[in-house]
């Protein structure tokens, strides 16, 4: 298992180094391009999840009816809901399973950025084990970009703010308006907590990772918008006047 993981990491580290080589030794640009590529490559995992979410969203009125009808029998409520999903050919697990499948890719990407930005001897030893000999001449990577040293946190906190903003927008776009007040309240709480938490973490992470978060969020927002519309961010498409 660790060999598969190392192979994945090796591929990603060397892809980043290759992009750095061909993109005028600009590591921020390499991260941005690689992020877009990774998001596109993981589309087969994310699209079914987003389509499943959209289908579930469209069934909300019927689910609400079941909820009201069996308000005092939670077991029956669940059974009927699952029956409805089955009739409509929706697998609710599709909302989560693809996320689990793409998690290793996300983690490998985080780790490969951290590895490529090695700025301590032990990190450099680790990079030395993954970088191919033909790309080793690029090490250490030039980590300056605008006001940033990509191996260190953003001193101006601009990237953490962008991470908070884009994470919030992505969650808003990804989450359809809910008719259930309890669920809506929980979702709202998550939508505030998660971006702040990510922003807080970003304050102490290498700013190269923050670049990844921002680009990844922007791509995610675009994909989500074209599939399911504005979610909770904008009035839903085709629902005006109802």
């Amino acid at each position: 298992m660790s060999q598969v993981w190392n192979l994945l990491l090796q591929g990603m580290v060397n892809s980043l180094l290759f992009l750095y080589d061909v993109l005028a030794h600009n590591f921020a640009l390499s991260i941005a391009v690689f992020t877009v590529l990774v998001r596109l490559l993981t589309l087969p995992f994310t699209l079914p999840a987003q389509r499943s979410a959209k289908a579930q969203q469209e069934l909300q009125p019927e689910i609400e009816k079941i909820r009201k009808k069996y308000a005092k029998d939670k077991e029956k409520q669940t059974q009927e809901t699952m029956k409805l999903y089955k009739e409509k050919g929706i697998n609710p697990a599709m909302g989560c399973l693809p996320m689990f499948l793409q998690l290793p890719i996300m983690f490998a990407f985080y780790q490969s950025i951290v590895k490529a930005l090695a700025n301590t001897p032990l990190q450099m030893v680790s990079l030395g084990k993954f970088a191919s000999p033909s790309l080793s001449q690029l090490v250490p990577l030039g980590s300056r970009f605008l006001w940033l040293d990509l191996g260190y946190p953003d001193p101006l906190y601009i990237l953490p703010i962008l991470v908070v903003a884009t994470t919030w927008i992505q969650q808003k776009v990804a989450t359809p308006p809910s008719t259930d007040s309890q669920a809506a309240s929980m979702t709202q709480s998550m939508q505030i907590t998660m971006p702040l938490m990510f922003g807080f973490i970003t304050m102490s992470l290498a700013s190269g990772l923050a670049v990844y978060f921002v680009i990844s969020n922007v791509v995610g927002i675009a994909i989500q918008y074209f599939i399911t519309g504005g979610g909770g961010l904008l009035p839903q498409r085709g629902k005006k006047g109802k």
Binding site: P92, L103, M106, Q111, G128, K129, A183
Partner: protein, 363 residues
């Protein structure tokens, strides 16, 4: 149903955050490896957040820096210096140690008390070099500094094109230092003026070794180079299988050098031809040490090997609890080594039997 779906999503988010906090942050406790220096009857060790002075015979601790109540940043390999005491008439020992907090500290060798410090702009990764009354220290701020050893007052500084992670070598009024900008520089020790530079195909993090009129060093292009010290001209190069971080050791007509390809090589000093190689199970970052026809090689595979220097045959090996990246040191029939967990071992150089370990296991 929405409530049913919310649970797993929360778990997923938390999973991501935990992974970020544990796996992706640069704040790992160890950023480099320990280093030790043996001077007469003392072993000075920089291990993680502390510098220790230990009695070479017993391993008993004489002092630690910073004091018990404090935990410092990472410290690089110490260097020892004897102040001639012209003004006081009393010789005083100083221990110089660079730190991850950007400072070079001068400590009293007897008490461990701080005498002075000198601030650079970025972490000091490598140990300093001392020659005459000058201490030379390199920093990740891309500079090499020459300081008055007694006071820490700056004499000159030289700027390279990238981080300097290697200890400078001072010999024959020249300072040789490798930089992560891929260049080996030769500087005038008195003025810091550049005499020549040589560009390798990869970053240089090794301290060079001088033998005769050749300068030997390795680089991240997986090569070992031999340069003419007068001109900086390349005499030969040897291609290993991975980055070379280990400082070459020259004994007679043989260059011994470790590589991250897990091997240690014996090369002909004049031509670079391979005489033999010995494979370990981990990267060899440390410079080998030599005594009594034995070559001592530390490896990431937690072993300290004693090899026949002529044939490369293994004589004995000692297993530590963690990887060994620090170069071993030899004195009076004892080989000292320090593993990544900060343990210092004193071993009988002839057979590898352990004499003492610091800290003591019962502590």
């Amino acid at each position: 149903m929405r409530r049913i779906m919310t649970g797993p999503k929360v778990v997923l988010w938390l999973f991501i955050i935990v992974a970020l906090l544990t796996g992706c942050r640069g704040g790992a406790p160890l950023t480099s490896w320990p280093g030790l220096t043996v001077v007469e009857d003392m072993v000075y060790v920089a291990a993680g957040a502390k510098v220790y002075a230990l009695e070479a015979d017993t391993g008993n601790q004489k002092w630690e820096f910073p004091g018990e109540e404090k935990k410092g940043p990472f410290y690089a390999t110490p260097a020892h210096f004897v102040l001639d005491g012209q003004s006081t008439g009393v010789e005083e020992g100083l221990v110089f140690v660079g730190s991850n907090d950007n400072n070079l500290y001068a400590l009293d060798a007897v008490t461990g008390n701080q005498r002075w410090s000198f601030a650079t702009q970025k972490p000091i990764i490598a140990g300093p070099a001392v020659a005459g009354d000058t201490v030379y220290v390199a920093s990740a701020d891309s500079k090499v500094y020459a300081l008055e050893a007694a006071t820490g007052v700056g004499r000159w500084e030289f700027t390279t094109g990238n981080w300097v992670w290697a200890t400078p070598l001072v010999a024959d009024d020249k300072v040789y230092v490798g930089s992560m900008d891929h260049k080996m520089y030769c500087l005038d020790a008195e003025s810091g003026q550049k005499l020549w530079e040589f560009k390798a195909d990869g970053a240089i993090a090794t301290t060079p070794t001088l033998a005769g009129d050749l300068l030997y060093f390795g680089a991240f292009d997986s090569k070992v180079y031999a340069l003419d010290t007068a001109s900086g001209e390349k005499k030969w190069e040897f291609q290993s299988g991975a980055w070379v971080w280990s400082q070459p050791l020259v004994v007679g007509d043989t260059v011994y050098v470790g590589s991250m390809d897990k091997a240690v090589y014996a090369l002909d000093a004049a031509s670079g031809q391979k005489k033999w190689e010995f494979a370990t199970d981990g990267a060899v970052l440390a410079s080998p040490a030599f005594a009594e026809a034995l070559l001592y090689v530390a490896s990431e595979d937690k072993q300290l090997y004693a090899l026949d220097a002529t044939t490369g045959q293994k004589r004995w090996r000692f297993t530590a609890q963690t990887s060994i990246f620090a170069p071993p040191a030899l004195a009076d029939g004892v080989v000292y080594t320090c593993s990544q967990d900060g343990r210092v071992y004193a071993l009988n150089a002839g057979n590898g039997n352990q004499r003492w370990v610091f800290p003591r296991t019962e502590q």
